[in-house]
Subunit: 220 residues, 2 copies
DNA sequence: TAATATTTTCATAAATTTGTCACCTCATAT
DNA sequence: ATATGAGGTGACAAATTTATGAAAATATTA
């Protein structure tokens, strides 16, 4: 597993490198975007850890360029939380982000998670004749498209990605509506109702977990 | 889940403690490194939240000592002013960081994430053909789902997590119903009855401890 | 801007869960 | 064997929780 660490601070590179060594990753380093692009072109890199704040070529621009060359998973490092919001707005295709300060252990955990995720890129979910196309943001039952509103689609996606796990209303609100939603818990119920109606014969896949929330359940 | 909070500021400990209580974590406190080490030695602690800036023995040194005794996951708290690269250089194996000021909610989320990563969270209990899926809030006997009401599920979960320990009615009431329940002791009996009925062939796992309470007993 | 679609709130209905009680059964000590 | 106290059980009213439809508020699109 070959990993490229891009950060202008040598101490940080050093620490990450040490932890990666423990995982038997082969580590390449770059101290700015230009260097990083060079290494990307000339090596078979599996994953990149990329700092945003860098001289010469910043992380954003570097990321953009990298994605034009090869589709390598990237974990972004940002110094401030505010930067993260900006990040989300741009959505340039990073696979994860970390806000400084973070622990090297967590970075390793995220690297592993991203590698696992990207090895088998799931862009479709199928159960019987129900098909969810995450890329196209569309849902089909058989050959018929199921018309869902954006919220319904997000809700269904989140359910599907957490198959067989009971999700509380709070959890759903914070994940789908965002931490800054201050509306009523019960809004969920209405969306569930509509989603169920739209899911026709699959409406029962969304199970209510009384006094708790809802669950997308596939019986095995 | 037992958590140790180490910070010299009582107010911060208090706030964290309150939020942890909501998650049913058992909270221990220490106001400096020395105290922390003492608690670590004498208790089965699952995770530690450790401030870096402390009198007597600072967070880094404490972390180092802790890791030499037991491998307990640690989340470090640092004030804004400490530079990330400096932190990173000193780090000796923390599992996550949080910078002050932080939201208690985020701390809880990180605690959960670390517990999950370090496999401290058990999400399934199995005994013969009886299976309790904590994530899905469901119980199975063989392949059949056992339909339990919320209280029954909580009751069973609590029993299972206290296997072979006799639990008094008061204990059950305060843990499951909450400290603010002022109803009748015997309410428990009715719920036990229903739970037993639902557990079918496993009904006898819930043993009556006369003049005391009940016990979830697995004979070995 | 108007028209349309989506999201949210809210009141009410429906369903489920709960707590209590009275009566029954059982274990235990005398 | 019997008295006594503790637990077991069924019934049911009360409380809680969810489902639903309709209307109001927002956002989106033409």
């Amino acid at each position: 597993m070959k990993i490229l660490i891009v950060d202008d601070e040598p101490l940080i590179r050093e620490v990450i490198k040490e932890y990666c060594a423990l995982e038997n990753y082969c580590v390449l380093e770059a101290e700015n975007g230009i260097e990083a692009l060079d290494k990307v072109k000339n090596n078979d890199i599996d994953i990149i850890v990329l700092d945003i704040m860098m001289p010469k070529l910043d992380g954003f621009s570097t990321l953009k360029e990298i994605k034009q060359i090869k589709n390598i998973p990237v974990i972004l490092l940002s110094a401030r939380k505010e930067e993260f919001d900006k990040l989300m707005g741009f959505d340039l295709g990073s696979d994860d982000y970390m806000t400084k300060p973070f622990s090297p252990k967590e970075l390793i955990a995220r690297i592993k998670a991203v590698l696992k995720r990207t090895n088998k890129v799931v862009d479709e979910y199928v159960y019987k004749t129900l098909r969810i196309d995450f890329k196209g943001h569309t849902v089909y039952i058989g050959n018929d498209e199921v018309k869902l509103t954006p919220k319904e689609f997000e809700l269904l996606s989140y359910f599907v990605k957490n198959e067989n796990i009971a999700l509380s209303r709070e959890q759903l609100l914070s994940k789908i509506w965002g931490y800054d939603f201050f509306g009523d818990d019960r809004t969920i119920d209405t969306h569930i109702k509509m989603l169920r109606n739209n899911l026709k014969q699959y409406r029962d896949l969304i199970v209510t977990v009384r006094s708790m929330g809802y669950k997308f359940e596939i019986k095995k």
